[in-house]
């Protein structure tokens, strides 16, 4: 039995909730039952066949799959198209993917009720939906062929996009695209069973977007150029919570190419005929800031505030047994504070947005929009038009890691405000520089974990007390209603309020401590810190109790975590856990369930120049049916690299006046290829419904490295980033 209650997690759908939520959606997208013919698309004169909101079949035999989730590297284009191709028995060469436009009625996340990509949920929320969309299309194409050939539909076979009948009939999907539009969509087309899969699980299936991402053709928001477009950059305040008091734009306006300077909520925008003029104009601008409500403390003070709060129990997230009594009677008590800094996401493409007036008086926008429905609403509000008059194109984005979905839609707001302030008739491209990105807030929040653990005389863990103190980015937003319960932000304690380990007496609690620094979900959200604190502390307790880190974990994992145990056994096996290590090297291990996927990692580490060097990471992942094994491996590799960058090097600090000290990649250092470990990934075979892989590769990496460092040096890295320390092996 699980030692903890299952927290309610609206963003992360359980399988059951997903199906319950999806039912309404599937019905909605199946309407009208009679298929609609769709003019345009491929084929200039003939109509494409669009059996539902997700699939278009053109007379030229191209199948376009509309993807409800944004593609910024995690693979939904290929992944969701795989599901459609599978059920259609298509040829992979005829498959294309494109982003679905913003349309919450058709493309909402079933759990959130809005179009938003997050929680590593793209595959989980699409598995049934997209297969059904494909099966529907196939059934209607087959029905059209049956009519044309005068044969029973059941006698028609489909293979690699070719329909055929034993009597010698043969045709392509394209041949029947027009006729299929007149067929009735089946209510419940049968879906394949796993043994019939040809695309799902294919190790060699090429991704759909590799070619265009290898020749410069892939179009990102920054690459959108509209007629008469102005480029805008914004002077933002140096301190969080500051506002514009006054500004002098005479020098900025004197820069050739600068067209306008306008105040908006976030600062002062300089609009110019080209990017360089906009940047030069911004440099020439002088702005006085009102800092009366601004954060003026340094990060040490903010951290100390959290650390002090974490010493006393907070709002209860989970409680079982009597932890105070157990700690009082424990043979050994261990105590540790873990300190986590602000982190910028630093996606490779800094934030950007394009907006212009459309012919009908509405607006058209191009954004790598992750919080699509929120952005759509924001643009309509700021521009004073109806939702239906906003056409929002979801663009490929150069990474996000959470940064492109904000509860506040501040990017869409800034772009729309500039567009309107400049008159609302010329197209505007808003561009953030890397400095804007690093200094612009929306960070992973500063968080402190205070842990106390108790062992009995046999070295068994009998008490676990964990107190989390930090900022909540849900509090004060519309997300608060379902993310914050009884003073606990579920995203602060996910991975701590429920852990894999059976400990009879425990208390997990939280303190929400707000300040003006804006914060946000960062790849794997709460697990970025809860995974680290839990997996480092359990390792310390096991060591104190004389237990092996792998065997000790396995012994404590509850039945609900059998799949996590499976990944731990596998990771240990491929890493050769327990083998003799070369001088100066050690292995560390960690296991974290996040977003309903299970990942264990073993890291081989040495110390070079006082800094951990990670040579290799062995990773085992169980994410249900492995739809695209190579994408799963790539996401584990990428998650490991992204996490390693953060735990080794990254922190955003504020100086003693509250100003951000970092500005670009020279002082907010990104992992480079020379620092990237070798990675070996094992995927656990499973027929459970698939779950996500964009985030779950991140959480175990930090604690796996930290546990190896502790073994090597005797010093537990409890404050991140690790580069703060000068480790001696």
């Amino acid at each position: 039995m699980a030692p903890y209650d299952k927290p309610e997690t609206p963003i992360i759908a359980s399988r059951r909730d997903f199906l319950a939520g999806a039912a309404g959606l599937v019905i909605a997208v199946s309407l009208p039952v009679r298929a609609r013919a769709h003019k345009g698309g491929h084929g200039p004169s003939r109509a494409a066949f669009a059996p539902n909101a997700f699939v278009r079949v053109a007379p030229d035999n191209i199948i376009t799959v509309l993807i409800k989730n944004i593609e910024f590297g995690q693979g939904p284009w290929t992944g969701l198209a795989t599901l459609v191709a599978e059920e259609m028995d298509a040829d992979w060469g005829q498959i294309r993917a494109e982003h679905a436009p913003s349309n919450p009625a058709l493309y909402s996340d079933p759990m959130l009720g809005m179009q938003l990509t997050g929680g590593s949920a793209s595959m989980a929320t699409s598995y049934d939906l997209m297969r059904k969309a494909g099966a529907t299309a196939r059934a209607m194409l087959v029905a059209a062929a049956a009519k044309a050939w005068g044969v029973p539909a059941g006698e028609i076979a489909v293979d690699k996009g070719v329909l055929s009948h034993p009597a010698g009939h043969q045709g392509s999907f394209g041949d029947f695209a027009e006729a299929a539009a007149d067929e009735t969509a089946p209510e419940d087309p049968p879906l394949k069973t796993a043994d019939q899969f040809t695309f799902i699980g294919d190790e060699k299936l090429p991704k759909l977007d590799t070619a265009e991402k290898s020749n410069g053709a892939a179009e990102f928001t920054l690459d959108v150029y509209r007629g008469g477009m102005l480029t805008a950059v914004v002077a933002h305040p140096n301190r969080f919570g500051a506002t514009v008091a006054s500004f002098d734009d005479s020098a900025a306006r004197a820069v050739p190419g600068v067209v306008d300077v306008k105040q908006v909520s976030a600062g002062v925008a300089v609009l110019a005929e080209n990017t360089y003029a906009a940047l030069k104009g911004r440099k020439a601008l002088s702005v006085e800031w009102d800092e009366s409500a601004a954060e003026s403390r340094d990060t040490e003070t903010i951290l100390s505030e959290c650390e002090a709060a974490a010493q006393a129990r907070g709002a209860i997230a989970h409680e079982a047994g009597d932890v105070d009594d157990a700690l009082a009677n424990a043979e050994t008590v261990l105590e540790a504070d873990f300190l986590f800094p602000y982190l910028a996401h630093a996606p490779m493409e800094p934030l950007d947005a394009v907006i212009e007036r459309s012919a009908d008086g509405g607006v058209e926008a191009w954004i790598g929009s992750q919080g699509t429905t929120l952005d759509h609403q924001m643009i309509a509000n700021v521009c004073g038009v109806d939702l239906a008059q906003v056409k929002l194109h979801v663009m490929l984005a150069g990474g996000s890691f959470g940064r492109r979905a904000q509860m506040t839609s501040h990017l869409a707001q800034e772009a729309a405000e500039i567009f309107m302030a400049a008159g609302g008739d010329r197209a505007v491209k808003l561009m953030w520089t890397r400095e804007d990105d690093i200094r612009g807030g929306y960070y992973r929040p500063v968080t402190v974990h205070h842990l106390r653990g108790g062992l009995d005389a046999d070295g068994e863990i009998i008490a676990w007390e964990q107190t989390v103190a930090g900022q909540s980015f849900a509090a004060g937003t519309p997300f608060e209603a379902f993310m914050v319960r009884n003073g606990v932000d579920i995203m602060m304690v996910e991975g701590a309020s429920e852990t894999p380990y059976a400990v009879a007496n425990n208390a997990v609690s939280a303190h929400i401590i707000q300040n003006p620094v804006s914060t946000l979900w960062w790849r794997s959200v709460g697990h970025t810190h809860t995974g680290y604190a839990v997996e480092c502390f359990i390792d310390e307790l096991l060591e104190a109790g004389g237990k092996d880190p792998v065997a000790g974990r396995l012994a404590l994992m509850t039945d609900d975590y059998a799949r996590l145990a499976g990944t731990l056994e596998k990771a240990a096996e491929i890493a050769g856990w327990g083998r003799d290590m070369p001088e100066g090297r050690a292995l560390g291990v960690a296991s974290v369930k996040s977003f309903n996927s299970y990942v264990s990692q073993v890291a081989e580490v040495s110390i070079e120049g006082g800094v951990p060097r990670v040579h290799k990471v062995w990773c085992a992942v169980d994410c249900g049916v492995a739809v695209n094994p190579e994408i799963i491996r790539a996401q584990m590799e990428g998650g490991i690299g992204y996490a390693l960058s953060a735990i080794l090097f990254n922190e955003i600090t504020l100086d003693e006046t509250g100003a951000v000290e970092q500005s670009n990649f020279h002082d907010y250092r990104s992992l480079r290829i020379s620092e990237m470990p070798e990675v070996e990934v094992a995927i656990i075979a499973s027929d459970e419904a698939p779950t996500g892989v964009g985030e779950p590769g991140v959480p175990p990496l930090g604690p796996a490295v930290a546990n190896a460092v502790r073994r090597l040096t005797g010093a537990a890295p409890r404050r991140l980033p690790m580069i703060r320390n000068d480790f001696q092996a």
């Binding site: 977007d209 020749n215 050739p256 080209n274 490779m348 493409e349 994408i631 590799e637």
Partner: protein, 153 residues
């Protein structure tokens, strides 16, 4: 100032502030948008082009210094090394978000021109200036090696 630039083998006339970094002339004036902006301060490599065959950070290269120089961008990158790199990139499905990949490919092809048989260390040294926030590094390493083998074979 009016300038004639030789971009991907063609003469292109532009009239811009001479201090403008090549990156913005390529993008804003010539609409060659495959060359990306990542940092603007020569830290990330997303803006890598060739100037007279050598990799260069276009974000810190004033366009006025390029009169008469030959500039190659990702759109014009061709030849044996480029073909081998792109084929290997496809084999390993290297790109994730794809935003850094123009720079990675430009740098990788330049490495293979100098050294068709690079070790892991050669690859790490040559590509250490190209940040990939998606950390596609494992596949970049494999793909560059495979491209080298393709060239040798």
């Amino acid at each position: 100032m009016a300038l004639t630039l030789k971009i991907n083998g063609k003469d292109r006339n532009v009239d811009v502030d001479g201090e403008t970094p090549l990156l913005w002339v390529l993008r804003d004036d010539l609409r060659l948008t495959g060359t990306k902006f990542g940092c603007g301060v020569a830290q990330c490599g997303a803006c890598t082009v060739y100037v007279n065959g050598q990799p260069r950070r276009s974000c810190v290269t004033p366009v006025e210094t390029l009169e008469g120089a030959e500039v190659t961008t990702i759109e014009g990158l061709e030849g044996r090394e480029a073909d081998a790199v792109r084929a290997a990139w496809a084999e390993y499905d290297t790109p994730q978000c794809g935003y850094c990949q123009s720079g990675q490919i430009m740098t990788a092809a330049a490495l293979l021109q100098r050294n068709p048989n690079p070790t892991d260390e050669d690859i790490d040294n040559a590509l250490a200036g190209n940040i990939c926030r998606c950390a596609t590094y494992v596949r970049i390493r494999k793909a560059v090696k495979a491209a080298g083998e393709r060239l040798e074979g």
